[in-house]
């Protein structure tokens, strides 16, 4: 007896899926768990007297907290506000997705909108509309991407190698941070050197304590900063140990040093810090973003960021992350759009999260993507990591969407990693910081992650790092060291990045470097006005995106078949006996083989030799005392027709049709072509024993029996994705040999029985 259970086993199956490791939170606005709206959110409103903002979203001036105050003074354009605030939010929402309403018009209106107004407008859009509006509203036309480059040992050799690899994949920015904070200077030098290998123009930042980060920038090692966080409530802001004024001052300080900067904000930070004021995530984020525009930063790292995993637990949370990014670009800020925290254990949720950004494009789609393995990511794992980077490359190819990356051939990766490791080792030696051994260097070049390396450890690194800091080593010393040791190209590349700060061109909104030139929202503005406008993947770029590794073509299939040709010649001989006749007695079964069977193609998709497959079927038929004939058909390559044609030539009326790729059928003389007795359609998992059983069953039918049909068990493999490209190419070889009206040929098969 089957026992009764207390649950449907499907739920037990679901319990085992990675998804169930994700925890989900109930909507609870009073406790801050609300994505888009909360009873505590204010209604949009503004009061302006004599050009002064005297009330903001229902708060009178004398009650302003410091965030209201900053927004009222520095964000709101009081000339635009009366017009912008009077507009119906639904109308503005429609304009955001109307390709005929230019971006500039909407950006001007945003200058006069309060946080509650911006939130109210974008709340009206569904996820698809948000993605579309994002694509239309983002500031720079050409999309880009950012990588994390860190490792669990703060090993500078690996940082250099991984920075060089990230640069080669096409990342426009690389960001590092440390396990041990005093290792910041070593990380900075290592990534600056690694990032100068192969080409120049990748911007680099070393995320560390505010004052230290600015000092590292002053020494010339880094070229941008983004960990200048802002928050949407006053108490979170002060717990973050800053105010809008201190952060804005820092923004001016970065500008004064010619260093690019963006702020960071994201849903969920106030909730994590315990001061959410029961407001919705989107409203608080709208406040953060208005603050950032008011501060005059060129851009924002936005979209949950460290709060993304928490936001994703809330109903509508992922849509909210997209909505806050939309507000950022609507406010005309560069947007490094998050996708930088592993917000789920489910690979399906990962893929779903990234897709809208990939197809909409973004200034920096991830901020950043883990170019290193998950365990090496000192920021915590990213949404997409070194493990999954190839999946992302394939998504670019699938959707013909430019995600900022370009496939990197393995040989080129090794070449660049060797060069980067040699370069950083040379710099360390030249500056008397360390003398890495050959074994250290070699272990790093070939390592996927720091588990594979025998290199510098965090303590070794601390000595290097503190020496760099204490001796006041600057980028000029590093440039000289590189050149003196023969790394002239890298020295030039590094110098070029530092020279960017002279003109300050890269301080403008959404600036990055492509092919040695500045590309920003000033000289590459998003001009989307419908199909044919905005960013389009050029043919040249499309071919780059397509160029993933291990791509099959017919030449490749024929090449691998040719390898098997000689081998098969030792196992089987096919001799054409002339036109095949109908069987005159009822004791024969005909095996109909396809045009290329054994002539151009030699193995089934499961990898079995056709000689063995044929031998197994012949043996099984003969074992029942029947005659087995082999007939080659050239009028068709289709399994059903092969089988039916064979059946019609058989005295028993039973035939087997088989293609070279191994797809087979048992057929009977008087049936419709596609209504066979048994079909073996999953050739990749069909084994020799199945072919033997197939032969036995064919014999049984010929003897008038009703055998148990053979079922080739499958476990849900994505057979199509694994084999169909190859199958289609193979099948084209078969159909290429067909000839209309060609007569069946009787074939004498000699199995020579040589085992290899």
């Amino acid at each position: 007896m089957t026992p009764k259970l207390n649950r449907w086993k499907r739920f037990a199956d679901w319990d085992e899926r990675p998804l169930r490791l994700d925890k989900f939170a109930a909507e609870d606005p009073a406790n801050g768990f609300s994505a888009f709206s909360s009873p505590a959110d204010p209604k949009p409103g503004i009061g302006i007297t004599g050009g002064r903002v005297v009330s903001l979203d229902g708060v009178l001036e004398h009650d302003y907290d410091m965030i209201d105050r900053f927004i009222a003074r520095h964000h709101i354009d009081s000339d635009v506000a009366p017009e912008a605030m009077a507009l119906d939010s639904a109308t503005v929402a429609r304009w955001l997705v109307d390709m005929n309403v230019p971006r500039e018009k909407l950006v001007r209106l945003a200058h006069g909108m309060t946080p509650a107004k911006l939130a109210e407008v974008v709340s009206q859009l569904n996820a698809l509309e948000i993605a579309f509006a994002y694509s239309k509203m983002r500031a720079r036309k050409t999309p880009g991407n950012q990588a994390h480059v860190t490792n669990a040992k703060d090993d500078p050799l690996q940082l250099a190698a991984d920075a060089a690899t990230a640069v080669a994949f096409g990342f426009d920015e690389i960001e590092t941070t440390m396990r041990v904070s005093r290792n910041a200077w070593s990380n900075a030098v290592a990534c600056a050197v690694g990032g100068a290998v192969g080409r120049w123009g990748t911007l680099f930042q070393c995320s560390s304590e505010e004052a230290e980060e600015l000092r590292i920038a002053m020494a010339g090692f880094t070229s941008y900063a983004e960990t200048v966080s802002v928050y949407g409530t006053e108490k979170s802001f002060t717990d973050g140990d800053d105010t809008p004024w201190s952060k804005a001052f820092l923004a001016a300080a970065y500008a004064s040093r010619g260093v690019k900067m963006r702020c960071t904000s994201g849903a969920g930070s106030e909730l994590l810090m315990g001061f959410h004021e029961a407001k919705s995530l989107l409203y608080l984020e709208a406040r953060c973003l208005c603050l950032q525009r008011g501060m005059g930063v060129q851009g924002t790292q936005n979209g949950g960021i460290d709060g993304a995993p928490l936001t994703a637990t809330i109903p509508g949370g992922v849509r909210e992350l997209m909505a806050e990014n939309l507000i950022a670009v609507w406010l005309d800020l560069e947007c490094a759009s998050g996708n930088d925290a592993r917000s789920t254990e489910s690979e399906i949720r990962v893929g779903a999260k990234i897709l809208p950004y990939l197809i909409a494009g973004s200034d920096l789609i991830c901020s950043g993507m883990g170019s290193i393995l998950k365990y090496d990511n000192s920021f915590n794992p990213s949404l997409i990591n070194g493990e999954e980077l190839e999946d992302y490359l394939v998504l670019q190819r699938d959707f013909e969407a430019d995600g900022g990356l370009t496939p990197l051939p393995e040989s080129r990766a090794i070449e660049l990693r060797e060069r980067a490791v040699e370069a950083i080792a040379a710099v360390f030696e030249e500056l008397g910081l360390s003398t890495p051994t050959e074994d250290m260097k070699t272990s790093v070049v070939y390592a996927s992650g720091s588990d594979d390396t025998r290199s510098l450890m965090p303590r070794d690194v601390s000595f290097i790092s503190e020496a760099i800091k204490e001796r006041g080593i600057t980028v000029i010393d590093v440039v000289k060291a590189l050149a003196n040791r023969g790394f002239r190209e890298e020295a030039e590349n590094l110098l070029n990045v530092v020279k960017l700060r002279l003109s300050g061109d890269y301080l403008q909104t959404s600036a990055m470097i492509r092919n040695g030139r500045i590309v920003s929202a000033v000289n590459d503005p998003n001009d989307y006005l419908g199909p044919g406008s905005g960013y389009r993947v050029s043919e040249e770029r499309r071919l780059q995106l397509n160029d993933i590794r291990d791509v099959l073509d017919q030449k490749e299939v024929l090449r691998s078949e040719a390898l098997h040709e000689k081998d098969e010649a030792r196992h089987i001989r096919y001799r054409n006996l002339g036109p095949a006749a109908s069987g005159s007695t009822n004791d024969d079964v005909v095996i109909g083989i396809s045009p290329a069977f054994g002539l151009k193609l030699y193995r089934t998709t499961a990898g079995h030799r056709l000689s063995e497959v044929l031998g197994a079927m012949l043996d099984a038929i003969r074992a029942r005392g029947l005659k087995a004939r082999v007939v080659r058909f050239r009028h068709t390559a289709d399994t059903s027709f092969l089988g039916l044609s064979a059946a019609r030539l058989a005295g028993s009326g039973i035939g087997i049709g088989i293609q070279a790729k191994g797809t087979a059928v048992i057929h009977q003389r008087d049936r419709q072509p596609h209504n066979n007795l048994e079909l073996f359609s999953n050739a990749p998992i069909t084994r020799l024993e199945h072919y033997r059983a197939l032969g036995a069953n064919a014999a049984a039918y010929a003897l008038g029996e009703m055998p148990e049909p053979i079922v080739v068990p499958q476990r849900g493999e994505a057979m199509g994705s694994r084999y169909h490209a190859r199958v289609a190419l193979i099948y084209a070889i078969e159909t290429g040999l067909t000839e209309a009206g060609a007569a069946p040929e009787e074939v004498d098969v000699t199995l020579t029985g040589v085992k290899s």
Binding site: R69, F249, A483, T509
Partner: protein, 139 residues
């Protein structure tokens, strides 16, 4: 001369006019010059003029708040790093114990470094911190 988007990028449209703090122009800052010891970190620093030019460009493309940040930045170019960090620290919550400390910093910015915009910005912070009770003990 007020720059416009047509002047952007300055490093490409007028490289000879882009100079470092000591007047060395972009084309002169070569690897060979670095190796000859002719380039210092000071030669690689942005000038107030370049920041003003970027402010002009930002304003021309409709980004007035970004322009103001560049202008505040221009005022800080000549301010020593230590004083910048000192003022930044003072602007953080609870560091200044009274409005006067901030006003004093503002006065130094104005009088010593002719940083008028920055001075007004610090004064605005002082006024806000007083109104919001931020001159309190934090640690």
């Amino acid at each position: 001369m007020t720059r416009t988007r047509a002047d952007y990028p300055l490093a490409e449209t007028q490289p000879g006019a882009v100079t470092g703090k000591h007047g060395k122009a972009l084309p002169e800052i070569t690897l060979d010059a670095v190796l000859a010891g002719e380039v210092t970190m000071e030669d690689l620093r942005i000038t107030p003029q370049a920041l003003q030019a970027q402010a002009d460009v930002a304003r021309d493309v409709g980004r007035p708040t970004l322009a103001l940040n560049f202008e505040r930045g221009a005022e800080l170019v000549e301010v020593p790093q230590d004083f910048i960090m000192q003022v930044y620290e003072l602007l953080r919550p609870g560091r200044a114990k009274s409005k006067e400390e901030l006003l004093e910093a503002a006065a130094t910015m104005r009088d010593t470094y002719q940083a008028e915009r920055i001075a007004r910005f610090i004064e605005e912070a002082a006024e806000t911190y007083a109104a919001r009770g931020l001159f309190t003990f934090r640690f």
